[in-house]
């Protein structure tokens, strides 16, 4: 573990993994796409993020996977202030995240195997050590016979499975998935959801943005975050920040 990573982890408290406090986001001089968003994500919890198109789901996810800084408010991730954390420390925070992008964002000239291996290579895992887990993961998402295939030769569903395998291969502390089952058949959608649940049982906090209301019922213990015109609806107060002392670990 590097010194930077050690420092980043040393600051992590045992409780909240992510805290948003009155966060607002606007692009340029346009109106805010997110306003007064406050919530807490607890370790090992499973969240669905729902909302109509244009409600701000993708913008919220961008803040979560540190691709964007908010226009106002405060964000803490893994115990660090994500807004004031020096730029050179951000990679260490990002390595604790797994992200499934809506448009997959696979590296076009790398094979399925190399795309899945990418986060481990970035983290410095040796080829010998990463070969087993990568092969295993590709087998598990049903792509054992497509390891050498490049993204352009894969179907949309296959690309999505590669993107998911890449996101979870490093067993992240926080998994953020934007419409992860949008391009796969119902059976594969359930299988992938089970993968997320398995990861969740191992302690990973999962946030899945989806339009699919049927998906919400498949994970009964999940919490639902609903965005409406850039504002977070939290009728039960389970997500509120600061959390209520009586609801440690979030209301389930």
């Amino acid at each position: 573990m590097s010194e930077l990573d050690g420092a980043a982890r040393a600051q992590a408290p045992a409780t909240e993994i992510v805290q948003f406090d009155n966060v607002g986001l606007r692009y340029g001089t346009d109106r805010e796409v997110l306003s007064d968003v406050s919530f807490t994500l607890f370790p090992g919890s499973f969240y669905f993020l729902t909302g109509a198109s244009g409600a701000g789901k993708t913008s919220l996810l961008k803040l979560l996977y540190l691709a964007q800084r908010p226009s106002r408010g405060a964000i803490r991730m893994f115990g660090s202030d994500a807004i004031t954390t020096p730029r050179e420390m951000l990679p260490m925070l990002r390595r604790r995240l797994g992200v499934v992008f809506q448009d997959f964002r696979l590296v076009p000239h790398l094979s399925a195997y190399d795309n899945v291996a990418l986060p481990l290579r970035v983290a410095g895992v040796s080829e010998r050590e990463l070969a087993g887990p990568v092969t295993d993961m590709l087998e598990w998402v049903g792509l054992a016979d497509r390891m050498a295939a490049r993204p352009a030769t894969l179907s949309g569903g296959e690309q999505q499975r590669v993107a998911i395998a890449r996101a979870v291969i490093g067993r992240p502390d926080l998994l953020v998935a934007d419409e992860p089952t949008g391009n796969v058949d119902p059976d594969m959608a359930i299988k992938l959801l089970r993968l997320f649940e398995a990861l969740n049982r191992l302690g990973t906090t999962v946030v899945v943005a989806t339009h699919d209301v049927h998906l919400l019922r498949k994970v009964p213990d999940s919490l639902i975050m609903r965005l409406d015109k850039g504002r977070l609806a939290d009728p039960t107060g389970a997500l509120r920040y600061p959390p209520r002392p009586s609801v440690p670990g979030g209301a389930r």
């Binding site: 540190l66 290579r121 970035v122 895992v125 993961m137």
Partner: protein, 316 residues
């Protein structure tokens, strides 16, 4: 459903988080290559040739200066042959007793005749005649003096010689070649300036190539960035690629330059002119020439790194 093995390898991943492990070719090499190896090859060839020229000129200048250092020529300008001979002998005798004069020899008449032959013909010197008679050619004494030859010292020598040889005129041999030395020095500066400009052009070409490669691969870089790749890791990908191109280009350019230098060396050696043979490159000169392509590779790599790091600073 069993969990994939990857999910049970928490310790493994934790142990390696933060490491700076090996990088696959995340950026396709064909996109980075393009014209850069050829541009570097041409630049390196020109820089090596310019450097070799500069070093050869420096050696030529040094050899000539060393040969002429302390050398003086005494001319006895006297139209009457007998008197000229008498003054030449008197001057030689006087110089033998002068402090600081380490040697003096009368240039034989046959050599003088040969010197003026291209202008006055084979019989133009001592025995030659024009319509008015023989053309008077001064007698020459080639002498060596220890210590620095200042204008004052030359004037003192001339004054002392004129007491016995009124027609004596003293010149330092180096003053004849002063314009040549000046030209050599100018050419040396020119070769240095060429090297500097070529190095700048190489840096600019690499900078443009790195920026183009960055633009072409922006989407991939963003992915690596969001997966936790550091600026240094991403820069290393480009650095390695440019370094590979630069090494290939430097080798090709050095090879071409070597051929040119050897051919030029043979051509100049064939001239068998004394001043030019002094320009032969020494072992240390060749070692310096080897440093040129090495420096070009370092310059290209460092330029690529700075360019990429600078561009990445614009990302969160």
């Amino acid at each position: 459903m069993s969990e994939p093995r990857a999910l049970r390898l928490t310790d493994l991943f934790a142990r390696h988080l933060g490491g700076e492990g090996q990088q696959a070719d995340i950026v396709p090499q064909s996109r980075l290559s393009g014209p850069i190896p050829w541009v570097i090859a041409i630049m390196v060839a020109l820089m090596v040739i310019a450097a070799a020229g500069g070093l050869a000129l420096r050696n030529t200048g040094r050899a000539a200066a060393s040969e002429l250092s302390g050398g003086i020529t005494v001319q006895i300008v006297e139209a009457r042959p007998e008197e000229r001979d008498r003054q030449a002998r008197s001057a030689l005798a006087a110089m033998a007793g002068m402090p600081g004069v380490t040697g003096a020899q009368l240039v034989p008449q046959t050599e003088l005749d040969a010197l003026v032959e291209p202008w006055l013909g084979s019989a133009g010197g001592s025995a030659g005649v024009t319509e008015g008679g023989a053309v008077p050619v001064p007698a020459l004494i080639d002498a060596q003096v220890a210590g620095r030859l200042s204008a004052d010292r030359l004037a003192q020598l001339q004054a002392a010689l004129r007491q016995t040889a009124p027609g004596a005129r003293v010149d330092a041999q180096s003053t004849w070649l002063a314009p040549v030395f000046g030209a050599i020095a100018s050419l040396q500066w020119l070769s240095l300036a060429l090297i500097v400009f070529l190095a700048l052009a190489t840096g600019a070409a690499v900078l443009l190539a790195a920026r183009t490669a960055l633009g072409n691969n922006r989407a991939t870089i963003e992915i690596v960035h969001l997966l936790g790749g550091t600026d240094a890791q991403i820069a290393r990908i480009f650095q390695r690629s440019i370094a590979r191109d630069a090494i290939g280009g430097a080798l090709a350019g050095s090879g071409a330059a070597l051929v040119v230098i050897l051919l030029l060396g043979r051509s100049f050696a064939a001239l068998q002119a004394g001043i030019i043979t002094g320009g032969v490159l020494s072992v240390s000169d060749w070692a310096m020439l080897v440093l040129v392509p090495a420096a070009a590779v370092v310059l290209a790599t460092v330029t690529a790194r700075w360019t990429v790091i600078g561009a990445l600073k614009g990302m969160l």
